[in-house]
């Protein structure tokens, strides 16, 4: 048993006390939470701790190894940076939800069994939805509901997989899983939804840009990276991940180029970057998994920095669409500078953090192509190369160009508040520090690192790629070929449920509802007829028999009419004398017997 505290609990319990603090004490307290968590993390011994017996299950609440420590470090760093960034918002919902969300992410990465893993996995959804709803706009509310639906579905898929896995193996231990059998596929898919795999991704591009300014920074750090961690834990070397990752890296580029909402552009580039990580895990060598983890670490920083810079622009101007922005470098020079650092990092410029991690995945793909029977890795490498050029195009150039340069939209605003600048400054410093001196990052990677990013070949090929990409952007713009920024909602895979789904609904509505009405009219007609028949049947049949007797007995006209009315009323109101009722019953029985007799004869 360890004397250290569970990393998740420091954040979760700490967050509950935030509303009780006021003013400067609140700011200090909020910054103290990730700092205390980080110090706790530094002294966590590796291995399994906090073994708990729950309902007959052996749970391991804390498992520590090199893989989850790496994610733990970066989660604490980005939490501190984001907290500094949002200090001026004075929004308790955002503060508590942010810490709960970060705590849940820590809970997932440090979980030592499938049960704890799943519980924290679901808590991620709750925290993130709160961050989306905290913006309190109609579109945020709708996007939050869609996000919730997708993630609850993903959670159920994952849970089904875990239950089946437990049923088959009798163990909840977090081990490497090979893709065979329904349980492994369900776990794989459940993680894939959080990882924003192609077609399963619209929740990300839909919801992240709708969140609060600080919420988007939190969101960009945790859900997808936690899924990357889960893939690295359970499915390293699963070949299909290479192709899924390649798809993730390539397809967002096209949508990001035509997108007008700059936070949505960053959401697409988030999928693109996670694609590199997924490829690295799919290749499954020590170099590629190190590359994937290092890139996850760096991505949290530079993507957070880019979202923070766009958040600062949004905070000051109230705008985030490219059509509404431009020329802000005059008013917000520091924000412009920090955004450019983030842009250079995500584009993997030499001396910036993206370069030292993305090149590891690229090198692993290139190395793989030399292996016998792995010629297809050349295609992987080429697509990743294309994706590298593309990310520079949309995140490296488009974001700073349309927000800070480009056409002057006429905004004359103040520079971002000090706390925001400090947060962006820390992230920018780390992006440059890691890019210049990657050794500390390499020393915390899961496997020993024997990789040197600053070789002449690496630096030259990457610089060449980036300059040609910049040339392409410039020429496309000057030649008038670059697509216009249009105030519109671009649909990609969400077309399936926003358009196709709606069309299917309308078709079914028009086709099935008339059929439903037709069937209903038939059923109603038959039942009404039967009801009417059975209401009067006894009286009418009795009259049929009795009238013939009365006619034989000489009853006519008014006397016959009076007798008929009396009998009808007596039978329908149940006031028939016992003798007559018995006679009617006997006559019915006789009638039935006669019919049977003649039928058999």
């Amino acid at each position: 048993m360890t004397t250290n505290i569970l990393p998740a609990f420091i954040f979760m319990i700490g967050s509950l006390l935030i509303p009780f603090f006021r003013g400067r004490a609140k700011s200090i307290y909020m910054m103290a939470i990730p700092v205390a968590g980080f110090l706790n993390l530094l002294y966590l011994p590796t291995g399994d701790h906090y073994l708990v017996n729950f309902a007959g299950l052996e749970l391991v609440l804390l498992h520590v190894d090199r893989l989850n420590l790496l994610f733990g470090y970066i989660y604490h760093i980005i939490s501190l940076i984001t907290v500094i960034y949002i200090l001026n918002f004075k929004n308790n919902v955002e503060y508590v939800a942010g810490f709960m969300y970060a705590g849940a992410a820590l809970g997932v990465v440090f979980a030592g069994d499938f049960f704890s893993f799943f519980v924290f996995w679901e808590m991620l959804t709750i925290g993130s939805v709160m961050l989306i709803w905290a913006r309190k706009t109609k579109s945020a509310q709708a996007a939050g509901y869609r996000y919730l639906l997708v993630h609850v579905f993903g959670g159920l898929v994952l849970f089904s997989g875990i239950v089946l896995h437990f049923n088959q193996t009798g163990s909840l231990e977090l081990v490497k899983i090979s893709l065979s059998g329904i349980s492994s596929y369900l776990i794989f898919l459940g993680i894939g939804i959080n990882c924003a795999w192609p077609i399963l991704h619209p929740w990300l591009t839909d919801a992240y840009p709708e969140s609060t300014i600080g919420g988007t920074v939190f969101l960009s750090a945790f859900t997808t990276k936690t899924a990357v961690y889960a893939l690295a834990r359970f499915f390293p070397g699963t070949e299909i991940l290479i192709w899924i990752g390649v798809g993730m890296a390539a397809f967002p580029i096209f949508y990001a180029v035509i997108e007008n909402d700059l936070r949505r552009v960053l959401a697409y580039s988030l999928i693109n970057q996670v694609g590199f990580m997924v490829v690295g895990i799919g290749i499954g060598t020590q170099l590629s998994i190190n590359g994937a983890c290092a890139h996850a670490f760096n991505d949290v920083l530079f993507k957070g920095l880019l979202f923070m810079s766009m958040g600062a622009v949004m905070y000051r101007t109230g705008k985030i669409k490219a059509t509404d922005l431009g020329g802000l470098y005059k008013s917000m020079p520091w924000t412009t500078l920090f955004c450019c650092v983030g842009a250079a990092s995500i584009s993997a410029f030499p001396l910036f953090s993206g370069f030292v991690s993305k090149s590891m995945v690229m090198a692993a793909a290139a190395k793989g192509s030399y292996l016998p029977g792995q010629a297809s890795y050349v295609i992987v490498w080429l697509i990743l190369l294309f994706a590298s050029a593309g990310v520079f195009h949309h995140a490296g150039i488009k974001i700073p160009f349309f927000a800070f340069f480009g056409h002057d939209a006429g905004h004359r605003v103040k520079e971002a508040p000090k706390n925001m600048l400090i947060a962006m400054g820390i992230a920018a410093f780390l992006c440059i520090f890691i890019g210049v001196y990657p050794k500390p990052l390499y020393s915390i990677l899961p496997f020993p690192v024997d990789y040197h990013p600053y070789t002449i070949s690496h630096v030259l090929s990457q610089t060449e790629l980036l300059f040609f990409s910049a040339l392409a952007f410039t020429l496309l713009l000057l030649a008038g070929i670059y697509p216009s920024e249009i105030r519109a909602l671009n649909l990609d895979a969400d077309w399936i449920y926003r358009k196709l789904g709606k069309q299917i609904y309308r078709t079914l509505d028009k086709g099935l509802n008339p059929l439903n009405s037709f069937c209903e009219s038939i059923v109603r007609g038959v039942t009404t007829g039967l009801a009417l028949f059975f209401r009067d049947a006894a009286a009418k049949l009795s009259l049929f028999v009795a009238v013939n007797f009365w006619l034989l007995a000489g009853y006519r006209d008014k006397r016959l009419e009076i007798k008929k009315n009396r009998l009808y009323n007596d039978i329908s109101q149940g006031t028939l004398s016992i003798g007559i009722a018995a006679a009617v019953a006997v006559s019915f029985i006789l009638l039935v017997l006669i019919i049977i007799y003649f039928k058999e004869a």
């Binding site: 000051r316 101007t317 109230g318 490219a322 059509t323 509404d324 050349v378 349309f402 480009g406 056409h407 939209a409 006429g410 905004h411 004359r412 605003v413 103040k414 040609f468 040339l471 020429l475 496309l476 713009l477 000057l478 030649a479 008038g480 070929i481 670059y482 216009s484 920024e485 249009i486 105030r487």
Partner: protein
């Protein structure tokens, strides 16, 4: 905060061509594409 002068929302931000750049783009695109085709046709690929 926000300047009051800028209120009109732009529906489309067009990127008008600067005269003379289209031929430059086409020439460089053709050259680049041919170079890439040459590289990809090499035996190592």
């Amino acid at each position: 905060m926000e300047s009051k002068e800028y209120k009109k929302e732009l529906m489309e931000l067009k990127h008008d061509a600067v005269p003379g750049y289209k031929p430059v783009f086409l020439v460089l695109f053709t050259l680049g594409f041919s170079y890439m085709a040459y590289i990809l046709s090499q035996p190592c690929f």
